[in-house]
């Protein structure tokens, strides 16, 4: 397996695991409050819908000339990756609250309890819709990453392998613990995925635009290391600014009292 293939599997695995944890939180909250049948059918229907999206768009993407595909996919991946990275840096430096799966779970439970029960054709449609929406929307990002990584590398099965392993792992752990997976280091995973998506985005968009990378495929590792260092420097710098602003604000409150 080449270096870029390994990075491809790791990136799809981490991205899928993060999204799967978020989807699992919704399904668990609905299942525990309103019974398991309807949300599980909703989650299964969403998984099938996502598979249909991949099956219909995958072959269509393969028909596009490789250079065009690299520019389009690389640009999308880079924009997408920078979104993830930007949020992860803001969370790691204290500017944005860390995502709290426990709080999200409690909120979902309260909403599911408050909603009325409308059973038609043996199905609780509220539970079905909530689970379907949760799994489909979170899964759409996974489908996007699998499709773009897979077609540009010419290996959708390899990208799907990373995603499949993550989904299976999260589903098994979720079935065993029956609680949201709040101990998963979600922001660290998002930080890593943001760097990986941006790395591949830079490499492929550049390649598609006619750029000659020094060291060819090995340049991926260079970009990865460069982006990691830059991102860690941003986290360190912003953490320091955030801490000094907080100290100044606390001092101002102290003087006011």
């Amino acid at each position: 397996m080449t270096t870029s293939a390994v990075v491809l599997v790791i990136a799809t695995f981490l991205a899928s695991a993060v999204e799967a944890v978020e989807a699992l939180t919704v399904v668990l909250a609905v299942g525990i409050t309103r019974g398991w049948r309807s949300p599980l059918i909703g989650a299964a229907a969403a998984t099938l819908a996502l598979a249909a999206v991949i099956a219909s768009f995958g072959p269509a993407l393969a028909l596009i000339p490789l250079d065009v595909l690299r520019v389009v996919v690389g640009t999308l991946l880079l924009i997408f990756g920078l979104q993830w990275l930007r949020k992860a840096i803001l969370r790691a430096s204290g500017y944005k609250a860390l995502r709290d799966e426990d709080a999200l779970y409690e909120r979902e439970i309260a909403e599911a309890r408050a909603a009325g029960t409308a059973i038609r054709a043996g199905m609780d449609w509220y539970a079905f819709t909530l689970a379907f929406k949760g799994v489909f929307l979170e899964g759409l990002e996974v489908a996007f990453i699998v499709l773009t990584f897979g077609t540009t590398r010419g290996s959708i099965p390899l990208a799907a392998l990373g995603a499949g392993l993550a989904l299976a792992l999260v589903a098994i752990v979720g079935a065993v613990v029956h609680r949201p997976l709040s101990r998963v280091p979600e922001n660290t995973m998002k930080f890593s995925v943001g760097i990986m998506l941006s790395t591949f985005g830079i490499f492929w968009s550049g390649e598609g635009a006619g750029v000659d990378w020094p060291g060819q495929d090995l340049a991926i590792l260079g970009i990865l290391a460069f982006l990691t260092l830059v991102s860690l420097a941003f986290v360190a710098g912003l953490s320091r600014i955030h801490a000094s602003r907080a100290a100044l604000a606390a001092g101002a409150v102290g003087i006011g009292e």
Binding site: I79, F80, Y95, E141, S205, A209, D212, P214
Partner: protein, 66 residues
Amino acid sequence: MRFIINFVRFWYDFIIGDDWVVAVGVVVALALAALLAHNGITAWWVMPIAVVLLLLASLWRATAKS
């Protein structure tokens, strides 16, 4: 009409996200890299440098708001 607005909004949020400057900056940087490469000028440095500058600008905008 409402469906179309919601549809466009969903894809805008999905792809462009919180800061449109990043998306525009990426496209401009890529155009510059392509221009240099097609004129025989070494262009591999353009995208990594552009990404650092865009990230810096985007983080600056986000932290200035808070």
